[in-house]
């Protein structure tokens, strides 16, 4: 509060006039001799007090009216920054960064952090601006820099909620710095309230520095003595020992604390039923591997959870998954039985690769061309034309209808022996021809070693993507002793070549279906790929590509995005359902039975809390499991001073000055000075009341 004409405060002395008159009149009262005071003394003290109170009220009204009048003439106005400046220091922007990551749920850290925020807000001077931001690996601005501290405290009561997200300091400090600079104050302070996890500082943010003129003050609610257990490194594997198709779930229990934890109970539950329990001793700072086995799961989605007992930080005690147990997809290999090597059927290696275990989604069966011809229309499954005769027009028509209807077909051409037949029948609807040149299309190896190698793999293609990572499998050891020389039209997509330059694998989309042409054999007739480690994954990848299969991770991390429509479409495909009303898709957090709002203008939502989420529409639902990021469970405590020193600018701080932007415009100034009108109005109302009251008393007392 400031005043345009402060000297008018002298007018406040006028308020003493009624008081002085009252006192003077009281002191100088003349003495009157009266026969007796016995009646006067009998008059009730209550009446006297009431009379005095009435007149005291009149006195107060008069004094107040005079004070308000003086105040109105002083022309008060609100100019908080100037008040702060008048105290000798420029106004300060306090940008409060409140860590709401999962680690803040440890014991009483969250409560202490909120108390620290409240203390900072209450400690701000008049004219300062306060902003409140919450951060984890995402930063949200709860209140912009403002002088309304009550609003910030109100926001502190309502909004900040703990999340299960991980901590990221760099991004939060960047946003806080921008917020502080935008506040338009002479001094800027970022208050970082966190548990200062070491894991919160990412390597790619190490070169971040706050700008000059921005001060960083840290409030550490963390501790060097802590204890936390978490589940990580979860793997879902097939159970080799279970012929019925059970699963093995391997995982690790991490002890991030500074004390040994013994006999910790760990359990496995499927669909909310505990199936197995174990006790584990975990020394401090160490990891213990564990494994659970599940029975064979019936087809459909199952909620699988690993849970341990740890009272210190409970949010990372449960690791959830959704496992989709699928029915086997039939794969038909059309082949000529006598054309395999050493009396083996041509699909010998394929059968071993696809019928590998109960975990494999495929079940291979071999048929001859006549058998295939005699089969009815093929509506599901996949088809491998394994170096079989092209068959008649009826067979080709059947194949075309199958593919164009959404089927998947792999044509295996070990050499050019069937070139005329292939070119006559398959080439009419496939973008591939076999170049029959010399030796009946059989091409000798180009290299001196007598074989060709696979090169030029399209590792960005879904088929080869899993092999792109180091040590994820290599095709370089596979030798191809002969192959069919393919000529590919533009509609075809060459995914791999032999080192001779000939296409080795060609993909093509035919209407709704997909076709792959492999220019070598599926067994060891023309190559030694079947005895290489990549054989089975390679064929699985080709079949997945044909069925348009998308591998789904059994869980998501906190902070990932749930796209309900997409999930429902995929679930509908898996379950063979149609007629989805995607506009009614909702996401419900299962544990709280709360609907999760989608981001405005988006059909996706970033999940903040771990647990199961149900995505549903009127006719279909599916589940998503969400888990905290493991590194957030590591509560290793950093040194706030060192961390702050790393974030602070090495340049000299900017001088604290009042920004020119703080000077109000004439309109703003007039708006701020508007208070005098209300004060005069108050004086008027007071005087009216005083007059009415006074007249009333006069009439009452005669």
């Amino acid at each position: 509060m400031n005043f345009v004409t402060p000297l008018f405060w002298l007018g406040a002395f006028a308020a003493t006039v009624p008081i002085l008159l009252h006192l003077i009149r009281r002191e100088s009262a003349q003495k009157v001799e009266f026969p007796t005071l016995m009646f006067l003394r009998r008059i009730s003290k209550r009446i006297i007090r009431y009379q005095k109170l009435r007149h005291l009220l009149l006195l107060l009204m008069r004094v107040l009216a005079l004070l308000l009048l003086a105040l109105a003439f002083m022309r008060p106005y609100r100019d908080r920054p100037r008040v702060a400046a008048a105290s000798g220091e420029p106004a300060t922007a306090h940008v409060i960064l409140l860590d709401n990551s999962m680690s803040m749920a440890h014991e009483d850290r969250w409560a202490r952090a909120r108390d620290a925020v409240a203390a900072i807000v209450r400690g701000a001077r008049t004219g300062d601006k306060v902003a409140l931001l919450e951060f984890s690996d995402r930063t949200s601005v709860l209140t912009l820099p403002a002088t309304d501290f009550a609003a910030v405290l109100g926001q502190l009561e309502r909004d900040p909620q703990l999340t299960d997200r991980a901590t990221r300091y760099g991004q939060a400090l960047r946003i806080a710095e921008k917020s502080a600079l935008d506040a338009g104050t002479g001094k800027r302070v970022i208050h970082l309230i966190s548990d200062f996890q070491k894991s919160g500082w990412a390597a790619d943010e190490s070169d971040f520095r706050l700008g000059p003129g921005v001060e960083l003050q840290c409030t550490d609610v963390g501790s060097d003595s802590f204890s936390n257990l978490a589940i990580g490194d979860v793997q879902v594997l097939e159970n080799d020992e279970d012929a019925a198709g059970g699963l093995k779930i391997r995982f690790s229990v991490f002890n991030f604390g500074a004390e040994d934890r013994n006999a910790v109970r760990v359990s496995l539950s499927v669909d909310d039923r505990i199936l197995s329990e174990k006790r584990v001793d975990t020394p401090k700072g160490e990891v213990r591997g564990l494994e659970f086995s599940t029975p064979t799961l019936i087809a459909g989605m199952h909620r699988v959870a690993l849970e341990l007992e740890d009272g210190r930080l409970t949010r990372d005690n449960r690791f959830t998954m959704t496992l989709q147990a699928r029915t086997k997809i039939p794969v038909i290999s059309v082949e000529s039985p006598g054309r395999g090597m050493a009396g083996r059927p041509p699909s010998f290696f394929l059968a071993n690769a696809l019928n590998i275990s109960a975990l494999s989604p495929y079940r291979l069966s071999a048929v001859t061309v006549p058998e295939f011809e005699s089969m009815g229309a093929i509506t599901g499954g996949l088809l491998i034309w394994n170096n079989a005769p092209a068959g008649g027009a009826a067979v080709q028509k059947k194949l075309q209808e199958y593919v164009k209807g959404g089927g998947g077909l792999i044509v295996v051409l070990p050499d050019g022996a069937r070139a005329p037949e292939f070119n006559r029948l398959f080439a009419s609807w496939l973008p591939v021809r076999i170049e029959a040149e010399g030796n009946a299309g059989r091409q000798p190896a180009r290299s001196s070693e007598g074989y060709a190698l696979l090169t030029d793999l399209r590792i960005d293609h879904p088929i080869f993507q899993p092999f792109s990572a180091p040590h994820a499998g290599t095709f370089t050891g596979a030798r191809f002793f002969s192959h069919a020389r393919l000529a590919v039209s533009p509609e075809g997509q060459i995914l791999a070549r032999f080192d001779s330059g000939d296409p080795a694998l060609v993909a093509a989309d035919i209407d709704k279906g997909r076709v792959l042409v492999f220019a070598s054999s599926a067994d060891d007739a023309t190559n030694d790929l079947p005895v290489k480690a990549v054989y089975a994954p390679f064929w699985h990848q080709m079949l997945r590509h044909l069925e348009n299969f998308r591998h789904e991770k059994p869980w998501m991390d906190v902070g990932d995005t749930i796209a309900p429509r997409k999930l429902l479409v995929e679930a509908a495909v898996r379950q063979g359902k149609g007629n989805l009303d995607l506009n009614q898709a909702i996401v419900v957090m299962d544990s709280r039975k709360e609907r999760v709002s989608l981001a405005p203008g988006s059909d996706a939502v970033a999940v903040e809390l771990a647990g199961y989420y149900e995505v549903r529409t009127a006719s279909l639902n599916t589940s998503v499991a969400v888990n905290p990021v493991l590194r957030e469970s590591d509560l290793a405590h950093g040194n706030p001073e060192e961390m702050a020193a790393g974030w602070m600018s090495t340049e000299a701080a900017a001088p604290a000055v009042v920004s020119p932007d703080e000077r109000p415009t004439a309109e703003e100034q007039e708006k701020r000075e508007r208070l005098w009108r209300y004060l005069l109005l108050g004086v008027l109302i007071l005087l009216i009341f005083e007059g009415l009251l006074s007249n009333h008393f006069i009439l009452r007392t005669g």
Partner: protein, 303 residues
Amino acid sequence: MQAHSTAPQPTRFIDPVTLTRISNLELVARTVVEGFISGLHRSPRLGFSVNFAEYRHYHPGDDIRRIDWKVFGRTDRFYVKEYEGETNTGINLILDCSRSMAYGSRGITKLEYGQFLTACLGYFAFNQRDSVGFAAYDDRIQEYVPARGSVGHLNTVLHAIERLQPKDRSRFALPLENVAERLRRRGIVVVVSDLYDEFDQVMTGLRNLAFRGNDIVVFHVLDPAELRFDFDKSAQFVDMETGDKMHVIPEYLRQEYLRLIRNQVAAFETECQKDRMDYMLIDTSQPLDQALYTYLVRRSQLY
């Protein structure tokens, strides 16, 4: 009875303030009483010393000069004629001379007014050949003149009245009991006071006086300021009897004070009526003979 219809005009009465300019109390009494009696001549049915009362049989020892011979001639029996004036009695005037009686806001104090009133009553009674006694008291008896009807006694009474000075605070029970003990004959007792004591104490004193069969007449003398409380400025009020002080804002207390005074007067009226006493509130701004007239009207209703 018919007194009200023949009442003299108030304008004819002498203002009490005017009386204060007359230094001789006897002169004051004579002025007031004679003026008063001259007004009474208009009403021949009033007065009590010259009126025929009744005939009674002659008893041995009666003065034979009082035998009505005309009645003897008609009836052949001796009858004696009796007059009311022959019912002479003693009148004792008791005047409060406490310090509160020294209050006067209109040029005459209550004590002066009381002196005039008692002097007039004494003069009046003496002319009727009644014996007149006088007593003055505050917290004890200050003056006492026994009732006598001898020549020159009036001067004694008037002198006692005239020399009175307000002395101490008033008490009722004990002084009036002492007076009552000194009264030998039953008669009329006139009490002139502002009655400033506890109500029960006042009534106890009055009842002591009435105990011996006396007829009690109470003149409650108050100043107009006490009756109206028409002060307009806040002031330090000092109790004239006790010296206690109290800051008073009259406008705060006026309503309540007047209510209390009215209640007090009403209470005296009620209690006196119960005890067959005459009670009369007199405002010192009222003329004296008006008070006398009002009193005599009431007395006439009793005889």
